[in-house]
């Protein structure tokens, strides 16, 4: 297994405000890493650093051994794709056209239209998310869950080595949540795509990932397998709320139950 991504001693933020402090992280090829942490802990900012939207104040990021600074945006877009939380959809666009946007990094200056190869890849990524039959529908006809799947299809069409997903299951019903996580599993197993996923739902994170990174206040609290990370001490300190941790009988991964105030009194 070779090293894909290294974040070395990165501190970063906006203006004067430091959001990430001394982050060290390395991700191997083929890994699935979950990032958890309270709101404002720097999860999305970490993604911004990895995708070169933000330049770190200190430290550096390496991708495939190369400094991120020396990789052009276009080259990076062929290797790293992001499914963001608040995608903007042009609702008049067809599903196919939207997914084809993922082929933009592969276009040369004077190539204005997609070739057969682009079409094949776009169809392929739509069939992976199971939406191929919707390819000519306008985006406005799709449900929230389907739109999220289309976003993922667009990212797959970029043919990335590393796929970043920012809360891919939030606002979705449990059926769609599981469908998306199954899809991500399949991509990881079959296409060897490395995945870093931000989760708000700790239990989804626990079930889905073999390695979790807990962020708090811009620093890494702990980085390890779910059993080590999701202890009630860790969760209670970071989230400032009482919880009970039990084991999922099937996967034997930790499962978090919240404890409400009235129960504490009893």
């Amino acid at each position: 297994m070779s090293l894909l991504l290294e974040v070395i001693d990165v501190s970063c933020g906006y203006g004067e405000k430091m959001v990430l402090k001394n982050i060290n992280l390395s991700v191997n090829e083929g890994e699935v890493l979950g990032i958890i942490g309270p709101n404002g802990s720097g999860k999305t900012t970490l993604f911004r650093v990895i995708t070169k939207i933000l330049t770190p104040f200190y430290g550096k990021v390496r991708f495939e051994g190369k400094d991120l600074k020396s990789i052009s945006r276009k080259e990076l877009a062929k290797k790293v794709a992001l499914v963001s939380q608040d995608s903007i959809f042009d609702l008049t666009m067809s599903v196919m056209d939207f997914v084809l946007l993922g082929r933009i990094p592969y276009r040369s200056t004077f190539k204005f239209f997609e070739d057969d190869e682009d079409m094949r890849i776009a169809c392929d990524s739509l069939s992976q998310t199971g939406l191929l039959q919707l390819k000519d529908e306008p985006m406005s006809n799709l449900s929230g869950g389907e739109r999220q799947l289309v976003s993922i299809s667009k990212a797959i069409a970029q043919n990335p080595k590393l796929l970043l997903l920012d809360e891919p299951t939030s606002h979705l019903d449990i059926g769609h949540q599981v469908r998306i996580l199954n899809l991500l599993r399949k991509l990881n197993k079959e296409k060897k795509v490395t995945e870093i996923v931000v989760f708000h739902d700790l239990n989804m994170a626990s079930e889905f990932c073999d390695r979790l990174l807990l962020l708090s206040g811009g620093q890494i609290v702990i980085d390890g397998p779910p059993k080590q990370v999701l202890t009630f001490e860790n969760v209670e300190t970071v989230y400032e709320t009482m919880v009970i941790v039990k084991e999922n009988p099937i996967s034997s991964k930790p499962y978090i139950f919240p404890v409400f105030e009235e129960w504490v009194k009893k």
Partner: protein, 324 residues
């Protein structure tokens, strides 16, 4: 893919055919009546010295303004932006007003007004570029800065109106209303060449503009150098607007309306919008100009009045007629 090339061909050929029809009908129709084949020198002069240059200027100015509007709406992802929103026209207007008041145009000739207009728009362009070079400035703030520049300019012109002689005010207002009446062939030719060149340049960025519609961060994730593209397109559209305004004055509404009409027909894909907006903008302005010349002949209406009334109602009609 084949469908798209077909769509491009339809958008290109369609808008170009409309343009040809408009050009042709505007050349044969005018205040002096129909002239199809010139029978004498007099009619020849009407065709080639009066109508043809005017149609050519309509082609260049209408196309430039529409293209500029399309690019700016694309960069800012805002449907209400038009070529004059950033204050390019305001800068031009101040400099032109000052030249009229100081009688500089009488000393150096009417050509001087165009020079003054261009210098004015160039000054604003520099301010805009300076603002856009600050990375932390959000695009809404840049837009707002442009609106503020516009307001400062128009207030300054109001100030001039308040203190200068009324005949000067009249001349300034007439310049500001815009006209395609221009007797310097060289300038018309210059604008035509520049606008066509910029049109071809803009097409190179049509896919980047499509990516930008997903938001700036998303576009970056697709490998688009957002900062660079935005600056290039900002310069392209501002220079185009600046040159146009300095030759024709401030012809309103074309740059706002035409891109929207084209979106109703071709959707939001800039690969189909760039050429069609340019050609349709040309056609639209040429037709409006012809109407403005024959409606109350022998007098002439300001073409901006026609673009507003005719264009606005046309757009409302198209919007309401569109099927759910």
């Amino acid at each position: 893919m084949k469908e798209k090339k077909k769509k491009l061909l339809i958008s290109l050929v369609g808008s170009f055919l409309i343009l040809l029809i408009c050009v042709f009908s505007s050349i044969i129709v005018g205040p002096a009546g129909m002239v199809l084949l010139p029978k004498d020198i007099y009619e020849e002069a009407i065709l080639f010295d009066l109508r043809l240059p005017r149609v050519l200027l309509g082609f260049a100015a209408g196309g430039s303004l529409s293209l500029s509007g399309l690019l700016l709406q694309g960069i800012f992802r805002n449907a209400l932006v038009e070529p004059y929103t950033l204050g390019i026209s305001g800068g031009a207007a101040i400099f032109v007003a000052i030249s009229i008041i100081t009688r500089l145009d009488e000393i150096f000739g009417s050509f001087f007004l165009s020079v003054a207009g261009f210098v004015g728009s160039f000054v604003v362009l520099l301010i805009i570029l300076f603002l856009s070079s600050r990375k932390h400035l959000k695009k809404e703030e840049l837009l707002l800065s442009g609106v503020m520049i516009s307001f400062v300019c128009s207030s300054f012109i109001m100030l001039l109106f308040a203190i200068v002689r009324s005949e000067d005010v009249h001349r300034i207002i007439f310049w500001m209303m815009g006209t395609l009446q221009e007797d310097k062939r060289g300038m018309i030719l210059f604008l035509s060449l520049v606008s066509v060149f910029f049109l071809l340049m803009s097409y190179l960025f049509s896919v980047d503009l499509n990516a930008l519609q997903l938001g700036e961060e998303e576009a970056s994730h697709l490998g688009v150098d957002v900062f660079r593209i935005k600056r290039i397109l900002l310069i392209l559209s501002s220079v185009l607007t600046g040159i146009t305004v300095s030759i024709t004055g401030i012809i309103g509404f074309v740059g706002l309306l035409v891109p929207h009409v084209m979106r109703l027909f071709f959707g939001s894909d800039h690969r189909f919008l760039v050429f069609s907006s340019f050609f349709f903008g040309s056609s639209f302005l040429i037709v409006c100009d012809t109407i403005s010349r024959i409606l109350i002949r022998p007098a002439e209406l300001p073409v901006g009045v026609i673009t507003g009334i005719f264009g606005g109602s046309l757009f409302l009609y198209l919007l309401l007629r569109r099927k759910e």
